[in-house]
């Protein structure tokens, strides 16, 4: 009997145990020049990129047998929910913990798989190796007042009732893990400018949709109306393609754009 799912099961025949080869772009300090190193790690089934980096930590030797320092990288949850381990793997910005080795190899059949290329994100300052500084994303959350302005924490009964459709919509956006993939992929977002990017447009919608968030709704819109705001978005739509949490970023961009326009018209007439 064939069930629908048995076709989905990964092949059970063992892949040839070629070692895993990683080429990693390293950098010792923020102001130092980057350099490349190659590592070769014994293959084991079910590995992800993070577990390969772990192997390098416990045996920091390059493929040429030279001793080196362990590669520094961020990681915490290892299940793609904290956003820490974002890096560029084979040219695509993604989380190291959820990039599995076996599927990469399965494509190569019996030939030795090509090296896996790993680089730090390019739109944020490098701290060391694969660690980058994403402070800008958190600062932007302050800029748009990313919180609900409740009175205080003493008991006041429940919050406002929310219908399940709105909850659904809110929930989709609330899963944003501040990973930065959408910004890395965005042609408008650069180290030099102040563009806030898709993550922030989505957060504006998130807080403005909530009944309690409405108190600060106009200020949030104002925050994305000036320089670095919504009008700088070129609508290239790269962001939504790389978001690991499938956040409907285009909806958010459209929504925030319209809300900002309405807000500026209102402002114009109330002058």
């Amino acid at each position: 009997m064939t069930t629908a799912d048995s076709t989905k099961t990964p092949p059970t025949s063992p892949l040839p145990p070629f070692p895993i080869v990683l080429r990693i772009k390293r950098q010792d300090r923020p102001d130092a020049a980057p350099y490349w190193q190659t590592f070769s790690v014994p293959y084991r089934p079910n590995m992800n990129v993070t577990s390969v980096l772990q192997q390098i930590q416990s045996n920091p030797v390059t493929a040429n047998g030279e001793k080196t320092s362990p590669v520094n990288y961020d990681a915490a949850c290892l299940e793609e929910v904290c956003g820490s381990c974002t890096m560029i793997i084979n040219g695509k910005v993604q989380q190291a913990c959820s990039v599995l080795i076996d599927p990469l190899r399965a494509k190569c059949g019996n030939a030795p798989p090509p090296p896996i290329i790993i680089e730090p994100m390019s739109k944020f300052p490098v701290i060391r190796d694969l660690i980058v500084d994403r402070t800008r994303m958190f600062e932007n959350l302050k800029r748009i007042k990313g919180w609900l302005p409740i009175d205080g924490y003493y008991h006041r009964g429940p919050g406002p009732k929310v219908d399940p459709q709105t909850q659904d919509e809110l929930y989709d956006m609330s899963r944003c893990m501040t990973c930065g993939c959408c910004l890395e992929a965005c042609p408008q977002f650069t180290k030099a400018n102040t563009f806030v990017g898709a993550q922030i447009f989505s957060q504006v919608k998130y807080f403005n949709l909530h009944p309690t968030g409405q108190a600060d709704a106009d200020e949030r819109l104002e925050a994305i109306m000036g320089e670095g705001g919504i009008t700088d978005c070129g609508n290239a739509q790269n962001c939504v393609k790389v978001c690991p949490k499938d956040i409907p970023l285009l909806d958010s961009i459209g929504w925030s754009g319209r809300a900002a326009t309405i807000h500026s018209i209102k402002k114009f007439f109330s002058k």
């Binding site: 799912d5 930590q57 416990s58 929910v81 429940p158 009732k161 893990m177």
Partner: protein, 650 residues
């Protein structure tokens, strides 16, 4: 008089709730975390958060029931007064979370939706999809960001992210007046003054190698307090979760909500059945938890489910191996649950995604293969409480509100909260009670800490008056330690030592505990300590963003904690909750049913809290009585049938 400040170490649910409550109480907070607080381990929590609610109440549930379930779930080892308060305040905690915008799932009419969770027959678990922890953490993070940026002019909370807590600072009177911490980028070590310090630094799963916890959960911060004289409470109690996905780097959790929503656990009735799960007909499956626990079925408490899974695999029925499989099926297919694909997809999305992503199979179409993994530290820093002596009926029986003793360790001015403390879960934590204990206690302790710092008697005044030399001396010690580590040139890689420790701890100090084997672990820990001290090698000498250095430092802390866990487990000669002791002579007797091999709970001798104190480089154990003023210990078998052997062995 200068403004008083409180240091909160840890920005998970516990630390953030404490910080925002203190900010509201007009106290300035310095908040430290290894990672941006939004990336704290709490983000992983999936299933939900418990509280009595109006629907359950009308079905006969109450705060008392929640209290009693928690106490019984913890096999009567938790002090009862704090747990009573937690259960009583839980509905208010949910209201607050609702107000700060947690996108809880809703009913069609817009009320908060509820699900079933382990150890209860009532629906009392609130949830936001299958990413409840993430949603709670973000909402609390947002409130703290507001205090940072705007509220009352901003600056009430100051964050220090990418900082590693190194040690508490104590004044001449022994009270805690600050901390020493290290900037993980510049590697600068410096002291911070604080009128009180709150440790909200989470659990210690990394000690066991692979666990369901984040890789930053080393327990090292708590260990550093232990090394400075703070006691540990019940360190031997470690929760092994029944359902995790095995992995090379970590064991990913499959939340209890999978079972709460109808998931069923089974094994084939034929040992080593080679057929794919979906090809095995209904009558050839053994839904063993349902068979053994006709009332609670698949949602018996975790310690029990874990042991039953272990036992069925020990008998040879496990899957994922021929006669020695260690896994069982967790079945969410419509065929087993009777629930439509789309319905479960919506309610369990986040965790289904994890399985699909890491295993490559849609768990709604094919039963999952899961096995038990270390998940939660019930033990932790010992903390005190002051009882409200009014009778229960008059609102008493819990903790005295605002009393400075609540949540305080044995070091004056040093507090602990969240998974880092030991207070709320006894010998086994019930699912969805941890998020609650973290947030409840974080909020509850705000006024207690405030009262402490406003009434310090010894030494008087505030931390800003303490002699600077005290801080300087601590910084110097830490600097020396760093220099020593940086220049270590032995042959022992710190990651390798940790891996060896993890292996022995998970082999010998988890589901089954046999003194003979734990003693071997204890001597291996001694050896590892020796190797660490004499042969450590530091493969990275950098003075900039040196992760290996920080990790190497925490390896020592993990060794200290492991020693306390193992020693306390050897000493406790009974079975209770997650601590399941098999006498040495039964080590190899898998022919005897597991329950019959084990020691029984022994209230006469062991209804006691273990206290571990670090004295002259040694772990010393002592005991204190448990507060059982509200509910008397009773039998805890969740209606297990005696039907041990309906399996046909073929």
């Amino acid at each position: 008089m200068s403004q008083k400040r409180v240091i909160v170490v840890g920005g998970g649910l516990a630390g953030l709730s404490a910080a925002m409550k203190l900010a509201e109480e007009e106290i300035s907070v310095d908040l430290f975390s290894l990672v941006p607080v939004k990336r704290s381990h709490s983000v992983c929590a999936q299933g939900g958060i418990n509280a009595c609610n109006e629907v359950a109440r009308q079905q006969g549930y109450s705060e008392w029931e929640h209290f009693f379930e928690t106490i019984k779930g913890g096999d009567f080892l938790a002090n009862q007064a704090p747990v009573l308060d937690m259960a009583r305040q839980a509905p208010k905690v949910i209201d607050l979370l609702d107000r700060i915008g947690v996108p809880f799932n809703r009913t069609a009419e817009g009320y908060l939706a509820l699900r079933l969770f382990g150890g209860s027959l009532f629906k009392r678990t609130h949830f936001a999809g299958a990413t409840t922890g993430q949603q709670l953490l973000y909402a609390l993070d947002e409130q703290c960001r507001r205090w940072e940026a705007e509220r009352e002019g901003g600056g009430r909370i100051t964050k220090y992210e990418f900082w590693d807590f190194l040690c508490p600072v104590r004044d001449d009177h022994g009270r805690c007046v600050g901390i020493v911490a290290q900037d993980l980028r510049t590697m600068q070590i410096r002291a911070f003054r604080g009128d009180a310090v709150i440790m909200a630094t989470g659990g210690n799963g990394l000690i066991f190698g692979q666990s369901t916890m984040s890789v930053i959960c080393t327990g090292s911060a708590a260990a550093r307090c232990y090394a400075e004289g703070a006691r540990l409470g019940n360190p031997e109690f470690v929760q092994v979760h029944p359902t995790a996905i095995p992995g090379e780097d970590k064991c990913r959790l499959m939340s209890e909500s999978a079972r709460g929503e109808g998931g069923r656990i089974w094994v084939p009735r034929t040992k080593g059945d080679p057929r794919p799960a979906n090809d095995i007909p209904e009558e050839e499956r053994d839904y063993f938890l349902e068979r053994l626990y006709p009332t609670y079925k698949n949602i018996v408490p975790r310690d029990i489910a874990t042991r039953e899974i272990f036992y069925i695999c020990e008998q040879g029925y496990g899957v994922g191996g021929e006669g020695n499989g260690q896994m069982v099926y967790l079945d969410l297919t419509e065929r087993a649950t009777g629930i439509k694909y789309e319905v479960l997809k919506k309610r369990l999305g986040g965790i289904l995604e994890i399985y699909e992503k890491f295993v490559g199979v849609d768990p709604l179409l094919e039963p999952m293969k899961i096995y038990p993994a270390v998940h939660y530290s019930m033990g932790g820093l010992w903390v005190d409480f002051e009882k409200d002596t009014r009778p229960y009926e008059q609102g008493g029986g819990g903790m005295k509100e605002g009393d400075p003793k609540n949540q305080m360790t044995n070091i004056p001015g040093l507090y602990a909260v969240g998974e880092a403390d030991y207070q709320y879960h006894g010998a086994n934590r019930l699912g969805a009670n941890s998020l609650l204990s973290c947030i409840f206690a974080g909020l509850f302790m705000g006024p207690c800490v405030k009262n402490y710092i406003n009434n310090v008697k010894e030494g008087g005044g505030s931390a800003s008056d303490v002699n600077a030399s005290i801080y300087e001396a601590c910084v110097k010690d830490q600097q020396k330690l760093m220099d020593k580590l940086l220049s270590a040139d032995g042959d022992q890689n710190p990651y390798v030592i940790q891996r060896e420790l993890g292996q022995t701890m998970s082999d010998n100090v988890t589901i089954l505990r046999i003194n003979k084997r734990m003693k071997q672990t204890l001597s291996l820990i001694e050896e590892l300590k020796h190797r660490y001290q004499t042969r450590l090698g530091m493969p990275d000498g950098s003075h900039w963003s040196n992760q290996t250095l920080s990790f190497a430092r925490s390896v020592w802390d993990m060794l200290l904690l492991s020693e306390a866990i193992t020693k306390a487990a050897i000493a406790r000669d009974e079975s209770r909750g997650a601590h399941f002791k098999i006498p040495d002579e039964y080590e190899t007797r898998s022919d005897i049913p597991l329950d019959d091999r084990a020691m029984k709970r022994d209230d006469a001798n062991w209804l006691k809290t273990t206290l571990a104190t670090y004295v002259n480089g040694q772990c010393e154990l002592s005991y204190e009585l448990v507060d059982i003023s509200l509910a008397h210990p009773e039998k805890r078998d969740y209606g297990k049938t005696t039907d041990h052997r309906t399996l046909e062995t073929q």
